[in-house]
Amino acid sequence: MGRQGKFGRFGVFDLFNGLLMILVCFATLYPMWFVFINSFNAPKQALLGTVNWFPKEFSLASYSVVFNDKVLMNGFVITILRTVFGTVVHVLFTAIVAYGLSKSYLIGRKVYMKIALITMLFSGGLIPTFILMTKLGLYDNFMVFIIPAMYSFFNMVIFISFFRTIPDSLEESAKVDGASDYGVLFRIVLPNSMAVLATIALFSAVYHWNDYYQGVIYIRSQDILPMQTILFKIIAENSMSLMQQQAMAQFGAKLPGNSIKFASMMVATLPILVFYPFIQRYLVKGVMIGAIKG
């Protein structure tokens, strides 16, 4: 009875448990599949929003509207810029601060850590932060995506705990050879921390790619709106760009709305879906380190 190694008896429980797990996978994947098939559906089919498994009438019409939409494509570029630039800045800045704080002989270390910890317990919140951004000139400025997201306490803790596992002897020998602290960090420590750098970079990149809220609050000019904010306006507020309005007129009033929505959702999610199988283990590793430390 019970566990006799890997090939123990496969009972009724195992059968139901396996089926339940398959159901979980189905519930997880179906929403994305739904978007996928409906984005290829001919506009009038997608409007019906019926439960289906494959496009009823295959069409690329919605994609051609999306890829010809100047506003959406500009948002796509802004999102890429924001993701690349924001991730590099976040990883470098947080890693450098963390390296300094990982040294137990750093003078003032305890005070610094307390200053950092208090920000976790208490914060100003939305309105004071909004006023600050306005006063700093970050309102309606692309840098509002980068500078306030330069640092994160949790990622810093992950970096610190990783840097501490790097053997001191490695750093000592470089110091004997006359390397400065910056030299040690960039030539010894960071090249030996690729796994954790990848993890933090991915978290930061996913944040930048998916965030729509900063754009809603801080951005007014259309030319620096990130794609997710534009999507938010299209999906939740039902606002259509000029291009889409023209498309609607062409296909008949209101008809293509849904499939254009689905096609733009697909374009916005595709990078995540494509990279996900390769990056997911780094993401999981990051949570594990964070969970053990935090």
């Binding site: 019970g2 566990r3 429980f13 195992d14 448990n17 339940l20 797990m21 398959i22 979980v24 519930a27 997880t28 994947l29 929403p31 994305m32 739904f34 929003g49 439960v51 800045f93 450098i96 601060v97 300094g100 040294k103 002989y105 750093l106 003078i107 200053i115 950092a116 920000t119 317990l121 914060s123 100003g124 919140g125 939305l126 309105i127 004071p128 006023i131 306030p148 640092y151 602290d181 910056y182 996913v206 998916n210 965030d211 729509y212 809603v216 997710q228 999507l231 938010f232 999906i235 939740a236 929505k261 959702m265 999610t269 995540i272 996900y276 199988p277 997911q280 993401l283 594990m288 969970a291």
Partner: protein, 306 residues
């Protein structure tokens, strides 16, 4: 004493490189965390964004009195607590349950695959996921078709526009999106349980459920306790990305959480001091909640986060 100080100063400058790595971080924290904390005092002023802060008149507790007598504020408290309570009571055990059941899967490859798939929705933006929900719950949507098809309802219900469904929509969509990801920490904790314990229990004749209850659950109790503390401490918060996406003018009366109330009052209506007063009060209560949850957990399970 004086000598000690100059010695420390010298040592400080000797490690100027290390210090120059940390100090920018501290400066960043001062600007982006401490200045906003300091600006919470505009809760006691009639602040106008066009003027320097100190030129605004102090008005004492005026804004606190104003929001505590605002019905819409109490409605937002009710909505926040309602949604949090549903998520805590019915949502908190689900990732744990999922992790326990996944742990019972025998085939390693199947387990890995399920795990990987279950994380995916966590990385999909709320704009996308919310968009799917809006479509499914709307007119002619998937949910209506299934329920009508199965005979549970006779005609279409506009779930997303009817306020009475909103709390449940946030609960179900959150569960659908975050169950797999929420289970990671439990899966990690379960993998750390000593396999010898299971073997011993098996020799004593414990069945599967008994092993799950007496070994797995007992061994990961600290993890459960910590996550529970954090969930209770976060009760005054809400998933803003989610609510902001799913709310509309029809369901606002059940959808407006405290966060959304602050947003609407502060940024939409421009009442900065008024909504800062709400934030101020909320910060204090949230901090108190954290300490209370922590000490309660220490008493009950011997585990706390500080």
């Amino acid at each position: 004493m004086g000598q000690h100080k100059t010695g420390q100063m010298k040592a400080f400058f000797r490690q100027w490189q290390l210090q120059s790595m940390v100090v920018p971080g501290i400066v960043w924290m001062f600007i982006f965390c401490y200045i906003p904390m300091f600006w919470l005092i505009i809760a006691f002023m009639d602040y106008s964004i066009a003027k320097p802060m100190l030129q605004s008149p102090f008005v004492g507790w005026k804004h606190f009195e104003a929001f505590t007598s605002d019905e819409r504020f109490w409605r937002s408290i009710r909505n926040t607590l309602g949604m949090s309570a549903i998520k805590l009571a019915l949502g908190f055990p689900i990732p744990l349950l999922f992790a326990l059941l996944l742990n019972e899967v025998r085939s390693m490859r199947f387990k890995r695959t399920v795990q990987t798939i279950s994380y995916l929705p966590h990385f999909i933006a709320w704009t996308i996921f919310g968009g799917i929900m809006l479509n499914w719950l709307g007119e002619g949507g998937v949910i209506n078709q299934i329920l009508i098809g199965l005979g549970f309802q006779e005609r279409e219900i506009l779930y997303i526009s009817d306020p009475k469904y909103f709390w449940w929509i946030t609960y179900f969509s959150d569960t659908l999106k975050e169950t797999g990801w929420g289970a990671i920490i439990y899966i990690a904790a379960i993998s750390g349980v000593d396999p010898g314990l299971y073997e011993a229990a098996e020799l004593d004749g414990a069945n599967r459920w008994q092993r799950m209850w007496h070994i797995t659950i007992q061994c990961i109790r600290p993890t459960i306790a910590i996550l529970f503390i954090l969930a209770v401490a976060g009760m005054l918060g809400s998933n803003f990305d989610q609510i902001f996406m799913l709310k509309n003018n029809m369901n606002l009366k059940m959808a407006e959480s405290l966060d959304l109330y602050v947003y609407n009052m502060g940024l939409v209506s421009g009442r900065h001091s008024f909504s800062t007063a709400v934030l101020f009060a909320r910060s204090i209560v949230a901090l108190a909640l954290l300490f209370m949850a922590n000490s309660a957990s220490k008493k009950l399970s011997g585990e706390g986060i500080f």
